[in-house]
């Protein structure tokens, strides 16, 4: 079993109204040093061991998990630790 961690982020140049609001809130809390905040998604997948995990996950990202018009993705694959 593999644990796949997928990070979805907005593409550079795509406005992030949520990130903007979070940045404004951080400023109002006194964290003036925050020059930008961008909100993304974190997804964990547990997948059966197979040879082409990486290609399969890439296809998942392109077909569903990320929207290539506005989002970039990257992922990490590690051994799943059974609990």
């Amino acid at each position: 079993m593999k644990k796949v961690i997928v990070f979805i982020t907005l593409k550079q140049g795509v406005l992030d109204p949520q990130g903007k609001a979070v940045q404004t809130s951080l400023h109002s809390l006194g964290f003036q040093e925050v020059e930008e905040a961008r909100i993304g998604k974190y997804i964990e997948l547990y997948v059966e061991d197979q040879e082409n995990v990486s290609e399969r996950v890439q296809a998942m990202c392109e077909q569903l998990l990320a929207n290539p018009v506005i989002e970039d993705y990257r992922f990490e694959i590690e051994e799943a630790v059974h609990s």
């Binding site: 406005l15 992030d16 109204p17 929207n67 018009v69």
Partner: protein
């Protein structure tokens, strides 16, 4: 003319859409549950607004992967009309039937009010009953209607006259004030504002009626007349 109004878990404008075509227009219409649906015998498909699958992942993304959408793609490939409104538009974008994507409204608010729109292309099968550049009033009701696409896509949209409705006072930050776009072939229209909620004076506007009248008129002209 026979319309299918597709119902996904979380659709909430399906009844309004049904009411518009069935009761106001007097055409045949069915509410069609997305699972095990058979769309072969319908002349036009209407994708209503709402929050299909609770807007999980991204608005419209889960519905876009359903078997129902495969059928809708096949329907569209035959040149038959498909209209997606609000969440229906988001589904069409996610399914790749229309270019671009939706972002959160610029002000982060869910907005629900009347908006003035310009009919930027009155030569489509959805807008032929309107005058050129006619100003109409439809309600909007969305949190993610901020249309985004890259510069190359905008150029394409402009060149092919695919921008069909624009906002007079852009409420959500949409690129080029876009409120509705059509595919290159001219038979798939997606729009954020709700024409089905503007079909009777009682609702505050009857300006949306012409969208449905245009569909029927063009269908009669191209199919019935030729039989």
């Amino acid at each position: 003319m026979k319309f299918a109004v597709i119902v996904f878990p979380g659709s909430n404008c399906d009844r309004d859409m049904y009411h518009a075509v069935k009761d106001i227009l007097g055409e045949e219409a069915d509410l069609v549950w997305y699972e095990n649906s058979n769309l072969a015998n319908y002349d036009a498909i209407l994708l209503p607004g709402g929050f299909s699958y609770g807007d999980y992942l991204r608005s419209g993304s889960i519905a876009a992967t359903s078997d129902c959408l495969k059928q809708i793609k096949a329907h569209a490939a035959k040149g038959k009309p498909v209209l997606g409104v609000c969440n229906g538009f988001q589904i069409l974008l996610e399914a790749g039937l229309l270019p671009g994507a939706m972002l959160c409204n610029k002000n982060l608010a869910f907005m629900c009010h009347q908006e003035k729109l310009r009919v930027a292309n009155h030569t489509t099968l959805f807008t032929s009953e309107y005058e050129e550049n006619e100003i109409v009033q439809f309600p909007i009701a969305h949190g993610e209607g901020n249309y985004f696409c890259d510069e190359a896509t905008i150029k394409e949209l402009r060149k092919n006259k695919q921008i069909v409705f624009t906002y007079e006072a852009n409420p959500n930050g949409s690129t080029e004030d876009i409120a509705g776009i059509i595919n290159r072939e001219g038979n798939v229209l997606g729009m954020m504002p709700h024409p089905e909620r503007a079909v009777e004076a009682l609702l505050g506007s009857a300006d949306g009626l012409k969208v449905f009248q245009s569909i029927v008129m063009n269908w009669r002209n191209s199919y019935v007349a030729s039989v």
